[in-house]
Symmetry: C2
Subunit: 293 residues, 2 copies
């Protein structure tokens, strides 16, 4: 069993990006610039955005943080998006989700110029991904694909079962794994809460990508020997043994499933560390105008 | 075994659309207007476009046909698209594919205002469909969904196997069948030329949507009793017994598969007749500004 070390891969990619940024700067090129818009004081959001800004510094990007209070009006936020769309120094930007209830997240996402949409949530990027055109792939799916690639996991013709049909993980993951590409070329099955035959599907899977958000859902009797398991779940479960009082728990019952796996990602330390680095890669691509002119 | 009569359903929907157009006109509303752009003299394309224009007349739509020669320049075609985008009388329009090799189909598709993209090929419409937002769904997938709906075929929790991963049938069909909707809510598997386990997948399927373009690919020993089979294949196979010298052949070996089916679409007369009527429905929706403001 190989434990997929997302932390190590993320560190390696971070190093590669930093080296490329040095070369860009040495050649007199423009420093990639990521802007982040944060609304309110949700603890999770503040932590994520801070980590994104910090990683920008570490790889040599320029970053900007625009912070609004909880009561910001939708029009103000839309005007901000419009400013960032038109700011030629900003290569890519994100509006950290979730947003307060009085603001339509979809409206904000669709207002972003898709050429700067490094989160990959704009319908144009979702559609281009499905069609197989160059696009910004959202962070979690992009990170998972990179792990599969760097560990040299064979995907062609394999049966990949995706558990969950969310717009940010399940659906894009399915689209990517069925693509005529490497990684890709899988027979892909998407299971979800309504699936009647979920267990037998998992038992026939060569690769399982678990993104249901149900702690320890996938058990040993649901997987075959030699399966590859990618665990996207990150639910906070109360746990007295930790300082914070909770434990980050995946969708996989790791102790019993891992002995049957050829490869498995742990939680934490698997998919998680890849997400911010995927955003950095998208920002680098945006800076290089590598995806859309 | 129920034979799904696409011709009858299409005729029924045509009647419904025509009745709605009468009501719109009586209320002083605008007559829906579909424009079609045809390039060159491909026999298939000319026949399709003529049928679309004729159906417009039958349901009471206004239609326009813009015909270019084979040697039309890409810029001319882009200028035409731009004119149609800005023509407030045109509610929706299509550029009939395929286009001559010197013209980028993707460039033309992306130039179309997605709010007039009644073919549903623009990345915004593809992306919106994947996310589950209101959009123009392309004709063949929309037609299949309508057949499933009108025949009251249960889909929730069922295993739907889609054979083929094309951008115009396989991928959108998979996206629609996994959607939290009715029809929808299926466990969806997408198989294709690289799939190692295609036969066992088909054997476990409650619903099979065959869109590989391989004549008589699906055989009796690949399906279970009671399966629903939707045959999207339409390959012209030489056949001496017909006047035209060819026979339209589906992806399903109908004679041997049909006795095992609860429902099956014939070829011709199944999915085929639904495509033009789906385009008419999209045009009606465009006329009513029902999808995008």
């Amino acid at each position: 069993m190989v434990l997929i070390d997302g932390k190590a891969v993320a560190a390696q990619i971070k190093k590669e990006i930093a080296e490329e940024v040095v070369l860009i700067k040495e050649a007199g090129g423009k420093t990639p610039h990521l802007a982040a818009v944060l609304v309110g004081h949700d603890g999770g959001s503040e932590t994520y955005v801070a980590a994104k800004v910090r990683t920008c510094e570490e790889v040599g990007f320029k970053s900007s943080l625009i912070h609004y209070e909880d009561d910001v009006k939708e029009e103000e936020l839309l005007a901000c998006v419009e400013r960032l769309n038109n700011d030629t120094d900003v290569d890519g930007f994100i509006v950290q989700l979730p947003l307060p209830k009085h603001i339509s997240e979809q409206k904000i996402i669709e207002a972003i110029d898709y050429r700067k949409d490094v989160d990959g949530f704009h319908p144009v990027n979702v559609g281009r991904m499905s069609i197989g055109l160059p696009c910004f792939v959202s962070a979690t799916p992009a990170g998972i694909l990179e792990l599969i690639k760097r560990y040299g996991i064979e995907t062609k013709g394999k049966h990949c079962v995706v558990l969950g049909r969310s717009n940010i993980v399940g659906k894009p993951m399915a689209a990517l794994m069925m693509q005529k590409a490497c990684p890709g070329d899988c027979t892909v099955t998407v299971c979800h809460s309504r699936s009647q035959n979920l267990k037998e599907m998992c038992l026939s899977a060569d690769i399982i990508i678990a993104a249901l958000g149900v702690p320890e859902f996938l058990k040993a009797d649901m997987v075959k020997e030699g399966v590859v398991v990618i665990d996207v779940g990150t639910t906070r479960v109360p746990g007295a043994s930790t300082k914070s009082g909770f434990k980050l728990t995946g969708d996989v019952k790791f102790d019993e499933v891992s002995p049957k796996c050829s490869y498995i990602t742990p939680v934490p330390g698997g998919v998680g560390p890849m997400t911010i680095i995927s955003l950095m890669r998208n920002t680098l691509l945006a800076g290089k105008k590598a995806i859309c002119k």
